[in-house]
């Protein structure tokens, strides 16, 4: 994955502007549309943002499109077809800064479960396709679902399934201003402490991925009396073996721990490696 600090190293680059105002493009790959919808969900800020940039390509919102290059591209979704692998390279060439948004774009999304679906734990799309389609042979899908950073250089990765709208506004503002986005990379636990929320794992014995998951949601699940399920993906350097032991003490079997690691960010490095370790040591 591209380092999260990559935007910093490039702030020295002159910000390429094609007109009076910077141009913004929004692109979709395999995804649920939810992360680009987050932009439209900024009801209080949307018209202000639209006043600061030229929205040059945002097909979900507008039939008016302007040809590239674009100053900033926001990319949602993962790469699951040969056509999309080519398209993302074209978009990269057309984009000054390329910011990927959401778990699909940063980690392959839940559709990356196919990356482990083969009999040997490797990529396989055929079994899933057969469960859905009567004629899976016409499906032109790659055996893997991969993050954008496996295909092109990415300037910034914004996590979340879905992303948080305040973080999105921060990243867009920062990229437009040519500064580093202020996006924390610590664990959800810290957000819980700040909220004064009771620890669901300590107090209620509920399994919680918060200690291993990057902050950004505002400790949403714990504040709704449930354990975190990791939708912002792993934070930097999580101690997953220790958390796995804790899950086991709380009665979660190896299958349950594997399922916890393999949801929306299953292909993200630390979650992927811990899951592979569990599978290897179990067999």
């Amino acid at each position: 994955m591209a380092p999260l600090t990559s935007a910093v190293s490039r702030t020295a680059d002159p910000f390429v502007r094609t007109g009076e105002r910077p141009t913004l493009a929004v692109w979709k790959f395999a995804s649920c549309d939810g992360c680009q919808l987050t932009l439209l969900d900024c009801e209080d800020e949307l018209l202000a943002v639209a006043g600061q940039v030229d929205v040059a390509y945002f097909l979900e919102a507008s039939s008016a499109t302007v040809a590239g290059p674009y100053d900033v591209s926001l990319v949602e979704g993962s790469i699951t077809t040969a056509h999309d692998a080519k398209r993302i390279r074209e978009i990269r060439e057309q984009s000054g800064k390329l910011v990927v948004i959401g778990a699909c774009a940063t980690a392959g999304g839940i559709q990356a479960l196919r990356n482990f679906a083969g009999p040997d734990g490797g990529p396989d799309v055929s079994a899933y396709a057969a469960a859905v389609y009567a004629h899976p042979e016409i499906l032109e899908a790659l055996p893997t679902s991969t993050p954008v950073s496996e295909h092109v250089f990415v300037d910034f990765e914004l996590r979340g399934c879905p992303i948080d709208k305040h973080q999105l506004l921060e990243v867009v503002s920062a990229v437009l201003a040519g500064r580093k986005p202020q996006i924390p990379n610590y664990a959800v636990c810290l957000e819980c402490k700040r909220l004064g929320a009771v620890c669901v794992m300590v107090a209620h014995g509920q399994p919680c991925l918060g200690p291993a998951t990057q902050a950004g949601c505002g400790a949403l699940c714990p504040s709704f009396s449930r354990g975190c399920y990791g939708c912002f993906g792993p934070h930097e350097g999580p101690n997953l073996p220790a958390l796995g032991d804790r899950f086991a003490e709380l009665g979660v079997d190896a299958d349950g721990w594997l399922r916890a690691l393999r949801t929306y960010n299953a292909y993200a490095g630390p979650f992927r490696k811990e899951a592979e370790h569990v599978e290897r040591t179990r067999s």
Binding site: A30, D33, L37, E43, I110, E140, L220, R226, G256, R259
Partner: protein, 438 residues
């Protein structure tokens, strides 16, 4: 990818290529071929890369589908959460009622308000007023677009109070909720909902004054129907042809088949193409709208049947009035139940459910074993069901406007698709508009 190569146009054929249809959720293509004065071919091709949910749901724990299937659609995650909960609860023989049922209904009202306001103001109204987007519309009519965004925000606020966030709420579980909403927060929704209801009424008046193309269509309508309420989470599956069956019989009547000209699946009900969504719901259930919503419909000139698909925007606005009204009723009458959820212990079995997503009936079916492992899942999203009828609408529009310039016709075709607020992410599917004319 559901991507059949487009037929090569012979020399002398006029053809327009639009990369992808805008202002729809997801990606798809529309292909239209006109030879002389004859419409030869219409195909709505949907080839957004499939993500294969039914495949990876196998082997998951029965408690997981509400969170996992929400990821099928960022615009209607609550619909997926509700259909999966109801189907899995049916498999386990559990019914959720009382205030928990009401809270689920309230959450769904939030999604209807949010989704309908988005479609009416940002995606659909620009078609009638000659703008490429809601953002462009705001440059000339800022107050109107601000009203739409305000309305949409209240829908989102309802979802935040009950679900924690607008997209992929975290508080829904089998049996109810992880925790009950904070009473003060719930009560505080009353004032914004009152304002939203006024905004929704103003929306009905606004869209009722649009200039609608003169198109009439006789369609088969399908939706849930409940004796006591406008349908959201529960009811029987009914049609304008007299179908009236429990949702467990969905697959006995609805068939998805391959059609030769397209790689997409077309659904039929008892052998006929049909339509789900606001117009179908309204036609089959309008007498169960709240009095205020019924009055708004009447003032907007809607009769008991809506034959012009372009008027779907008016129906969507009327349903938004209803959703505000219903949300207010629930908020005002709310008494906190003792528990946030009822237990749903697993048992071997199969469960079915339909609920009414903003775009129409969403069917889920699960088979689980006694440990609660999902053995099999089937999901039939609304847009897949309406697809054949959407194509039929495009045919009607083309046949009725063969004399207009190609550019105008193309715009009308796009509108005919957007009338139905298609959700292509749900239908797993891409709109590429291509009009060939010889």
């Amino acid at each position: 990818m559901w991507n059949a190569p487009a037929p090569e146009a012979p020399a002398g054929t006029r053809r327009i290529d639009v990369e992808a249809l805008a202002r729809v959720e997801g990606e798809g293509a529309l292909h239209v071929r006109i030879v002389g004065d004859t419409l030869e071919h219409v195909a709505l091709r949907i080839y957004e890369p499939p993500r294969l949910f039914e495949g990876f749901l196998r082997g998951r724990h029965y408690t997981e589908p509400p969170d996992i299937t929400a990821r099928i659609c960022g615009i209607c995650p609550v619909a997926y959460q509700m259909s999966s909960c109801h189907a899995l609860e049916a498999a386990c023989g559990v019914t959720v009622d009382g205030q928990l049922r009401e809270l689920r209904r309230l959450l769904y009202c939030g999604e209807w308000i949010e989704s309908h306001a988005l479609h009416v103001y940002m995606l659909h109204a620009p078609d009638f007023l000659g703008y490429p987007s809601g953002i462009h519309l705001a440059q000339d009519h800022r107050a109107i677009v601000e009203r739409g965004l305000r309305l949409k925000k209240v829908g989102n606020d309802v979802m935040v109070v009950l679900g924690g966030r607008e997209i992929h709420p975290v508080n829904v579980r089998l049996g109810g909720f992880y925790r009950l909403p904070r009473l003060a927060q719930l009560r505080a929704l009353r004032e914004p909902l009152l304002r939203a209801r006024e905004d929704a009424l103003a929306t009905v008046r606004w869209v009722a004054g649009f200039d609608f193309p003169d198109v009439e269509a006789d369609r088969v309508y399908v939706s849930l129907s409940h004796p006591d309420e406008y349908p959201l989470n529960e009811g029987r599956l009914v049609s304008s042809r007299g179908l009236d069956v429990p949702v467990s019989a969905f697959e006995d009547h609805v068939r998805e088949e391959h059609v030769p000209h397209s790689t997409a699946l077309h659904a039929t009900v008892d052998g006929e193409p049909y339509l789900v969504g606001p117009v179908a719901r309204y036609v089959l259930n309008h007498d169960r709208l709240s009095p205020l919503a019924q009055e708004a419909a009447k003032e907007a000139g809607l009769g008991p049947v809506v034959r012009n698909p372009f008027q779907s925007i008016v129906v969507r606005a009327v349903e938004t009035v209803y959703a505000c009204d219903e949300a207010l009723r629930i908020v005002e009458a709310y008494e906190p139940p003792e528990h946030a959820f009822v237990d749903v212990p697993p048992r071997a079995g199969r469960g079915h459910a339909c609920t009414e997503a903003p775009r129409g009936t969403l069917y889920h079916r699960y088979t689980i074993n006694e440990d609660g492992t999902v053995l099999d899942a089937r999901i039939v999203p609304p847009t897949a069901q309406s697809q054949a009828t959407i194509e039929e609408d495009v045919r009607d529009v083309v046949r009725g406007h063969l004399d207009v310039p190609t550019e105008t016709l193309q715009h009308l075709c796009e509108q005919a698709v957007r009338n139905h607020d298609p959700c292509i992410s749900c239908a797993t599917h891409f709109l590429k508009l291509e009009v060939e004319r010889r």
